[in-house]
Structure formats: C-alpha cells, structure tokens
Amino acid sequence: MDGVVQLQRQLLDYTALLFQEGFLNDQFTQLQQLQDETNPDFVVEVVSLFFEDSERLLNELANTLDQQSIDFRKVDSHVHQLKGSSSSIGAQRVQNVCIAFRNFCDAQNTEGCLKCLQQVKNEYSLVKNKLETLFKLEQQILAAGGSIPM
C-alpha cells in the first residue's frame, strides 16, 4: 500500500507544480470535478480532443503563414480557435501566447506572428508532455489498486 501512497503524493505534488508554473489553471480543476465513476475518463477524453484540435490548428497556422501573401484573418481565426480550446481545458500558457499572437495578427505583423507560432508550438509541446506525464501517474495509481486523489 506504501507504493500507492507514494504515487498519490507524487501526483499531487506534480499537479501542484503545474499550477504553480502556470501550465494549468482552475479550469483544469473544473474538468477534474466533472469526472466520476460514470465518466472515469472524462479528463483524458477532453484533453485528447484538445491535442487533436491543436495539432490540426498548428499545421494550418504553419501553412497559412507560409504563403506569399498572408491571409491574416485566416491566421487570426485559427489562433482564436486554439485560444478557445486551450482556455477550455485550462492550458494557461498556451492561451497566453494566443492572446499575444492575435495582437500581431491585428497589426498584420508577419515577424511577430512567426515568433508567436514558434512560441505556441513550444508551449503546446510542453503542456502536452506534462499532461501525458500526469495521466501516466494516474494510470500507475489505478493499476496499483489505488484511487486518484483530488
């Protein structure tokens, strides 16, 4: 049972760190509260949708910004969507870059947009990594017969 307790503590500490470092915000907690025995995979499912959406949007952004003549409205539309879904799962840092990104779109600033694209890709990569680590920890706890602490 000791192993489970340790894993649980690890999970709580890791989650707290993610919040402290601004990767996640209260919206993520909201999602966790919507999970229960009848919907035990809710958070993983929503986050998976976020991963799918984000990857698609990041590709489209790269394409749109690669054009000879950039359609900034299109760029803005993609960023808006990315901002929306990151906000819905509580991915604070991704959301923040999107806000800056949109300002550069408004200003039709190509260089600014390209920088933001790079930044948002980085932040997305980071939060994806961290969430996957978090989910792995949860799986380990469940596999060891424990329950996920809240």
């Binding site: 229960d36 949708l49 959406d53």
Partner: protein
C-alpha cells in the same frame, strides 16, 4: 448479479445495465435531489459527485428533465458543455453549427417540429463565433420564428466585448456567458429555467407536464406576471391563437451570487 452487488458496495450505485430499460425510465421520474444517469432511484440513490461540487434541490421542477440544445463548432467545448449539462441532470443535444441547430429544430425550411423524437427544447446555448452562421445570426433566426422565439437562448463567447453583449441581449438573448463555461453557470441557468417551469406546473395545479396539445389555460397578462406569460407560451401549442402577446424584452430574473 454479484458483480452488480460488488459495484454497488464500491460505488454506492448500481450500473445502468443491471436494470431493464422500462424500469429505469420509470425510476427517472421519481423526484430526487440529485439523480445521476449512472445510478438508480429508490433508497440506493445518492449523488455520485464529490461533495464539493454540491447538490441542488429539484423539487420545484417536478419530474421532467430539461432538454438543452448546445451549439458550438469546437469539439472540445461541445464535450465540456455536454458533460456540464448532463451532470446538472439535463438532456443534451450537441450540434456543431447554427445550420445543424436549425435543422434539428425543423426551422430549415421544413414544417415546424419539436425536433428529434418529439423532445421539446427548453434552452438553447450557443457559441458566438462560429464559421458560417454565427451565434448572433442563429439567435436572430430563432427569435424570428413563431414556434421557437420563446425558448431562452444563451450566448457563450470567449470574448468579453460590451457591444457584442449588448447586441445579443437586445436581440433577445437571455444571457451572455463568458467562456470557459463553469458548472456554476450551468446550474444557475438550469435553476432559472426550472423555476419558470415549476411555477407553471404549480399554477396549473399538477406536477406532471402534459403534452403541448393539452394546454388550454391562458395565463394572466399583468406586467408582474410577464415571466409566467413568457414561460407559459413555451408550453402552448405553437399555432395557438389564444396565446397572449408577451412583452418582447424580458428582465433578467435571477440574482448573481
């Protein structure tokens, strides 16, 4: 059978499949403070959410669940709003566009209908920025429709733009919610709608909602009763000529906590 017992002992609820559908349907009608889709009625019922999420009292609403039509082009947001609504004991139909929403309501040029399987829609929640038809345009279409203009429409948006909010409220939106939508938002909406429906049921002297065709009572027209008027129009047959003229601008009726 025994796995069901083990399930119960562990989760203090019984898996849905332990019971034949007709029985489950009957149990869904028993009023209870909180009835989750995965549990059953009777003395075994307990809410399955963690304590901190809280329980609300449904006694005013009687036996019916609210049916909410949710419209959002974002896959993530659709999933979240669906869960928020289901956990708040609402039936949900989630669609990805205004066009689909109109199709569902039967407003896409075909004869008026109440939607899939005769389910009446009690509330429409729509995202504002969507490709094709925006939430604002959808709102306008709904308010232009005789059959559906009394259904409360709530706009959701990630952008807190005052002119946008004003425009939507002026067009008849019930409320404008800034995303991300929280459980407290959904609860508040549900309580508001149910209070209206509950009042209507009490006025009619029974707790069972009859089919639309059965309504023949005209509500009073005093200004104080404007809400009752609005809500009762929801329940009158769409083509009813005895339907009273209700004021088009509705006051916001609940107090923010």
């Amino acid at each position: 059978m025994f796995s069901s017992i083990a399930h119960y002992l562990h989760y203090k609820s019984l898996p849905l499949h332990s019971f034949p559908p007709p029985l489950y349907k009957y149990w869904k009608q028993i009023p209870h403070p909180f009835l989750d889709m995965g549990s059953v009625a009777g003395e075994f019922v307990r809410h399955v959410l963690p304590e901190k999420v809280g329980v609300s009292d449904h006694s005013a609403a009687g036996s019916e669940e609210l049916h909410v039509l949710a419209v959002d082009d974002s896959h993530v947001d659709r999933k979240v709003i669906e869960r928020l609504l289901k956990i708040s004991s609402c039936k949900v139909t989630a669609v990805e566009s205004g066009t689909r929403a109109l199709q569902f309501l039967g407003l896409d040029g075909e004869e008026n209908s109440v939607g899939f399987d005769g389910l009446k829609v009690n509330l429409i929640m729509t995202d504002y920025s969507m490709p094709g038809m925006t939430g604002y345009e959808l709102l306008k279409k709904i308010k232009e429709s005789k059959a559906f203009r009394k259904i409360p429409v709530v706009i959701m948006s990630s952008e807190n733009i005052l002119t946008r909010i004003d425009r939507c409220l002026e067009e008849g939106a019930e409320e404008f919610i800034v995303k991300p939508v929280k459980l407290s938002d959904v609860r508040r909406l549900r309580d508001f709608i149910m209070r209206g429906e509950g009042e209507e049921n009490r006025k009619k002297g029974n707790h069972k909602r009859k089919l639309q065709d059965d309504y023949s009572i005209s509500p009073p027209l005093s200004p104080a009763a404007s809400l009752d008027c609005e809500i009762s129009s929801l329940l009158l047959p769409s083509s009813s000529s005895s339907s009273p003229e209700c004021p088009s601008k509705r006051p916001r009726l609940w107090v923010e906590d």
